[in-house]
Structure formats: structure tokens, C-alpha cells
Symmetry: C3
Subunit: 119 residues, 3 copies
Amino acid sequence: MPLIQVDLRRELFDSSHDQISRALQTAGEEALGTPTDDLFQVFRPRDEGELKFDPTYNGVDRRDMVLIQVLAVHMHPVSAKQAFFRKVVEHLGEVGVRPADIHIALAENGFEDWYAGRA
Amino acid sequence: MPLIQVDLRRELFDSSHDQISRALQTAGEEALGTPTDDLFQVFRPRDEGELKFDPTYNGVDRRDMVLIQVLAVHMHPVSAKQAFFRKVVEHLGEVGVRPADIHIALAENGFEDWYAGRA
Amino acid sequence: MPLIQVDLRRELFDSSHDQISRALQTAGEEALGTPTDDLFQVFRPRDEGELKFDPTYNGVDRRDMVLIQVLAVHMHPVSAKQAFFRKVVEHLGEVGVRPADIHIALAENGFEDWYAGRA
């Protein structure tokens, strides 16, 4: 039951939220084995001044920030996390999001830390 | 000092935010022993397309998503977390929120990870 | 790569978001050794009823809530976290934010849990 939270420019949300949603879900399916219907995402469109970032940190040409937070059960090896990041970059690229503009932060909890519609 | 974050449809926020707030706080009091005045909540009303979920994942008839994130100190046994989920479902039910529409994700940190108005 | 998320009253965001951004980044530089250009922040302006808190919990005179969430790699000793809280209070004070109105929650993950513009 990974939970995905996305803060992004409102214009990008308006033009592409369904495609971004599918790109992220596909990346989870391919790299983490997330079932297709295990879909829990919240998109938070951001207005001027709400996203703050440095344009060159980590040696890239950053022009925007698509902030993706993933909360997932602690069970994925580092290699699967790295594959997930690659897949997110690949599939968001197909939607026109530049790799340099993607920022992902993953956090973990336990199986016992979720309620998904029934006990 | 649990922090509660709720992303929910704007219409539900407008009609019921105070009742939902009380329901969540009551659940924490009853299941986790949270003091009544230990209240820190943020509600984030969401518009069309911002909440994405599958209508049947986990074998339920899901028609909406009330996304509740709890950040709490790592100290509660699994049984208390399960009791908390049950109490949330019970008290949100009294406000008219369907159990299938509730999604809860709990994450944990340490006592030393909080600042609450004074050092 | 600490990620900083701030939920705050819209009026305070409008008047002071750049100053608050700098205050938080400066606190990270001084207490956690965060590089100046390691800047990833999201501000989420909140409207009436969206921030819920008790005015006196923890023995303070709380009139507002500036909610600051920090996600950082697990590597800072408790003393550095405490220094960070003090520095946030100091620098936000210079912007006119009262210590009693500040609420900080820190959560941690691993080095392998980040993607920042490139693999």
C-alpha cells in the first residue's frame, strides 16, 4: 500500500495529472511489484512561490520541482528502490517531465501501520 | 504529540471539518492515550482530480478517499494501532464517513524529533 | 537532502514566505550542516479552519500554528536536532514568528531513499 504524494506546479497538474498518476503507478508496478489496483495518490497543485529549490544542486540544470513523496512498507531492497527511481524518471520523461526536475523522497513504515478501507 | 494530516474532498471539508477533527482526536484519546489538548491537525481540502484511488482495492466498495496520515512517537504496540484504526472508523462513521472510504497511514519518529511551542 | 514542508496561514505565507524560507535554510546550515544550495521546500498556505491546534498545550500561549515538517537522512545526533530547533526559533523570531506558534516534526529515512535530479 504505497501512498504517493505529489506537490507540483498547478499548470503541470492541470495539463498532465492523469498521465503523471499513471506514470508513477506503472513505475511502482514494474520496480516494486505494486498491484495495479493498489492506487493511493494525492496531488497538491502549487502556486507561485510555494515550491522552493536551488537550480543547480547535485550538479543538474533544475528548472522546476515535481516533488514526489512515497510512504511504503519497509520491505524493498535498495536495488528495488533504485529501480523505482529509474522507472519514475523513464515514465515521467514520456510525459515531458525532465529528470532534473524530479525530486523523490521515500519513507517507510510497517505492515501494521495501514488501514485501507477495512480492518 | 501525534501530528494528524487529512487530505479530503473540499465539500466534505466544508460540511464536516470540525466534526472530523473531533472524531480523530477522540480516537487518539481512546486508543493511544493522547491528551485532549495535544491537538495538532492540518486539513488540506482537495479539488477534482487531486485524490486518486481504485474503487475496489482490498475488497471494498470505495467511493471516496479520506486520507489520514498520522505521525507519532514510536511507542504504541500493534494492538493500540489497531484499536486506533477501529476508533477512527467508529467515530468517522458517526459523522457519515463510510469505512471503505477511509485510508490511514501511520509513520513514527522519536521523542527527540518534536518541538511544540517551546524547547 | 532534507525536505522541508511548511503548512501556514495564507496571510503569513503572502507576507513572509521568502523570509521564512531563508530562516529555515539558515537554521539547517547552522545546526545540521546542510549545504546552502541543498534547498528543497514546499509551502502550503492554509485557509480558515484548516489548521487545528490547542492554544495552551505544552504550557505555552499558542495563537497560531506554523507547522514545519522535516524529512532528513538518519544521521544527526539528538544534540544537532535540538540545536536545529533552537535555530529555527531564533531565525523565525527575526521574521516575527512567535516561538509558541512554531510546531516542528522531524522524520528520518536513509541515504538510499532519495532521488535529487539524477541517479
